[in-house]
Amino acid sequence: MKLRIVNTLTVLTLGLGLAACSTVSLDDSAAGAGSSGSGGASGSGVMDPFNPSSVLSKNRSVYFEFNSYTVSSQYGDLVSTHAQYLTKNPNQKIMIEGNTDASGGTEYNLALGNRRAEAVRRNLTLLGAQDVQIETISFGKEKPKALGDTEADYAENRRADIVYLRP
C-alpha cells in the first residue's frame, strides 16, 4: 500500500518535470499521464525516458536485499531495456542514484549506496552502454523515499534509481 503511494508520487514528480521542461503542452502531458491505464498506444511500448508512460520511466528502480549489492536476476529485463536505449542513443546521459535504509552510519551508508549504483552501472555497461553516459552518485540514507521504520519502508529505500538527464 505504502509502496504504491510512493510510486504514484514519483510519477507525479516526473509528470511535473515533463510539464516544466519539455515542449509538450501542459494539457497534452496531463492527458497522457491520466490515460496511461487505458490507452495502450501511449503506454509502455514507447521508448522515451521523458514520457512518464514509457517503460523507461516506469521501470527505473532496482531494489536490493538487506546487505546486498548485487543486481538480482529479476531486474535483467529492466537493465537490458535501459542498456539497449543507451546503446541506441549514445549521447543520452544518465545518473544512477544509490540509496540505503536508515540502519548504520551516515558516511558508510553513503559509500554503500554508491556501491549499489556502481553495480547497476556495471550491468548496463556489460550490455553495451558506455561509461561516459553514466554518472553514479549516492544519497546514502539521507534522502529516504519511504519515511517509516517498518521493514517494508527499509526495503523501499535499498534502491538504485536510473535518472535520465536532459541534454
Binding site: G104, G105, T106, E107, Y108, L110, A111, L112, N114, R115, E118, E135, T136, I137, S138, F139, E142, K143, D149
Partner: protein, 439 residues
C-alpha cells in the same frame, strides 16, 4: 548505581551576535536567530567526585548567573559534588573562613564579584581556594559585555576544572551539529553545554559530516545543495564557502590534518569510495591515498599527522584500518564484531572511538591502541557520530531514543552519561570543536 537527574528545562534564544558571520545565498536561507527548547538529563557519576563550593558571585543577577553556569558545568562533568553555599555572601575581596568551609565539606571554594565598569561593560573577578591546604589556588579577572558573561563563566569553570583535576576543562569550547526540522537542515554551532546555538548554514538539502579545522575557525562539511554530495570549507567569521571537492560522483567525509593544511576526502570519481588528499584552502593538489577494490571511507588523521585511520570493507565487513599518510600497507585495527565504523582518535593518540554493531544495536566503543582491548561506552540501540572532547575526557555522540534523535555525552571511562534533547527537531552529526575557538 545510576540515578537520573533532570537538571533543567531551558528555553534558549540565540541573539544576533553572529549576524555578521552569516551570509545569504540564492538557495541557502539564512536566519540570525535560532529558537529551540533544550533538556539535559544526566545519569551516573565520576569515579572520583571533588567536593566544591561555588558561592554566588557578588553583583546581583549577573553574579548569580556566573555561579549557576559554573555549577552546571562542573555538575555535568560528573567529577564534582556541589556543596551548599546558602548564606555565603562572599565577594572577591572577602577573607575566606577556611575552617568553616571544611566543616561544610568543601575541599575547594570558588567565589568572586561582578562589577559594572561602564555601559554594558563588566569586570568579573574570581578566586579559587583550597580549604585543606588553606591557600588560594587561582585568582583572575575577566572583562566583557553581558553577552560574554556566559563565556566568562565557562572559562572560570575551565580554570577550576584544571586546577582541581589537573586536566584542561572543555566548558568554553563549542560543538557543531546538524539540526533537521520539518524539511530544513541547519548546521549549528553551540557552546559545549548546548546553549547559545548559532546557525552557520541552512538548506533544504541534507548537510552531513561537519569537521572542525584545528584552529576552530572553519568547518568542512558535505552539502547536497547542488543535488549531490559536495565538500565545502566554510570560514565562520566571514561565512565564505569554498567547494573544495566537487568531482564526478560523490564527495564526502572531510577530515583535517593537524596542521590545517590538508583535507582527506572520500571520492567516487574512480569507482567505489576511496580516500584522497587535497589542499584544504582551495581543493588543489589532488592525490589518491588508498587503492582497494572495495569501500574505503571515513578518514581521520592521527594526532601526529603521520597516519590516517579509516573504515574499509576490504575484509568483507566494515572494519577500521590505519595507513601511513604517504600511502602503503594498511593495518587492521578493529577485530571485535562484524561492523566497526566512524573512527575517531583521542588527542593523546592512545584510544580510538568506533561505532560498533552488537546484536543488531549500534554502540560507541573505545579501543585501546596499545593493548587492543575494547570498552563499550554506550548502550545503544542507535548511537552514531562519536567525537572526543579536546581534552579526551568526554565523548559526544548522536543517540536515538524513543524515536527521537538527541545529543548525548559519555565520559571516556563510560561511567557518566548525559543527553541533550532538542524538543522540536532532530540533532544529527555532532562533533566537538577544538580548544581556543573563541569567536
Amino acid at each position: 548505581m545510576q540515578h537520573a537527574l533532570n537538571l533543567s528545562i531551558l528555553t534558549i534564544a540565540a541573539r544576533k551576535t553572529w549576524g555578521f558571520l552569516l551570509a545569504l545565498t540564492a538557495f541557502l536561507l539564512f536566519a540570525t536567530s535560532a529558537q529551540a527548547q533544550l533538556r539535559v538529563d544526566i545519569s551516573g557519576t565520576g569515579a572520583q567526585q571533588f567536593p566544591v563550593a561555588i558561592a554566588d558571585f557578588e553583583g546581583d543577577s549577573a553574579g548569580r548567573l556566573i555561579a549557576e553556569v559554573i555549577r552546571a558545568d562542573l555538575t555535568r562533568s560528573g567529577q564534582f559534588r556541589l556543596i551548599n553555599t546558602t548564606g555565603a555572601q562572599l565577594s572577591a575581596n572577602s577573607p575566606l573562613a577556611y575552617a568553616e568551609w571544611r566543616t561544610r565539606g568543601a575541599d575547594y571554594v570558588a567565589y568572586g564579584s561582578v562589577t559594572t565598569t561602564g555601559e554594558n561593560k563588566y569586570e568579573v573577578r574570581y578566586r579559587l581556594a583550597d580549604t585543606i591546604n588553606q591557600k588560594e589556588l587561582d585568582g583572575v579577572a575577566f572583562n566583557g559585555t553581558d553577552r560574554e558573561l556566559r563565556r566568562i563563566a565557562h572559562q572560570i569553570a575551565d580554570r577550576i576544572f584544571e586546577k582541581v583535576t589537573g586536566v584542561p576543562g572543555v566548558f568554553a569550547t563549542r560543538i557543531a551539529y546538524v539540526l533537521k526540522q520539518s524539511g530544513t537542515y541547519e548546521l549549528q554551532i553551540a557552546d559545549a553545554d548546548g546553549q547559545n546555538p548559532q546557525i552557520a548554514l541552512r538548506s533544504r538539502e541534507p548537510i552531513i559530516s561537519p569537521a572542525w579545522s584545528p584552529d576552530g575557525r572553519k568547518l568542512a562539511y558535505v552539502s547536497f545543495e547542488s543535488g549531490k554530495p559536495v565538500v565545502y570549507v566554510h570560514e565562520l567569521s566571514t561565512s565564505k564557502r569554498v567547494p573544495v571537492a566537487n568531482f564526478k560522483g560523490n564527495n564526502s567525509a572531510p577530515a583535517w590534518s593537524p596542521d590545517g593544511q590538508t583535507l582527506a576526502v572520500v571520492l567516487t570519481r574512480d569507482g567505489l569510495s576511496q580516500i584522497y588528499l587535497i589542499n584544504a584552502n582551495d581543493g588543489s593538489n589532488l592525490r589518491r591515498l588508498t587503492r582497494s577494490p572495495l569501500i574505503d571511507t571515513e578518514p581521520v588523521f592521527s594526532p601526529d599527522g603521520q597516519s590516517i585511520f579509516f573504515t574499509s570493507d576490504r575484509s568483507g565487513r566494515p572494519q577500521i584500518y590505519q595507513i601511513p599518510v604517504t600511502g602503503g600497507e594498511a593495518r587492521r585495527i578493529s577485530f571485535n564484531g562484524d561492523y566497526n565504523i566512524s573512527p575517531r582518535i583521542s588527542p593523546d593518540g592512545r584510544s580510538l572511538l568506533v561505532v560498533t554493531r552488537r546484536a543488531g544495536e549500534f554502540r560507541v566503543a573505545a579501543i585501546d591502541l596499545s593493548s587492543g582491548s575494547e570498552t563499550l561506552l554506550t548502550e545503544g540501540p542507535n548511537d552514531q557520530s562519536p567525537s572526543f572532547a579536546p581534552n579526551g575526557r568526554q565523548v559526544l555522540y548522536a543517540a536515538k531514543q524513543g524515536g527521537r534523535n538527541m545529543l548525548a555525552g559519555v565520559s571516556s571511562d563510560g561511567r557518566m552519561r548525559q543527553t541533550l534533547s532538542i524538543l522540536n527537531g532532530e540533532i544529527r552529526e555532532p562533533t566537538w570543536g577544538p580548544f581556543g575557538d573563541t569567536p
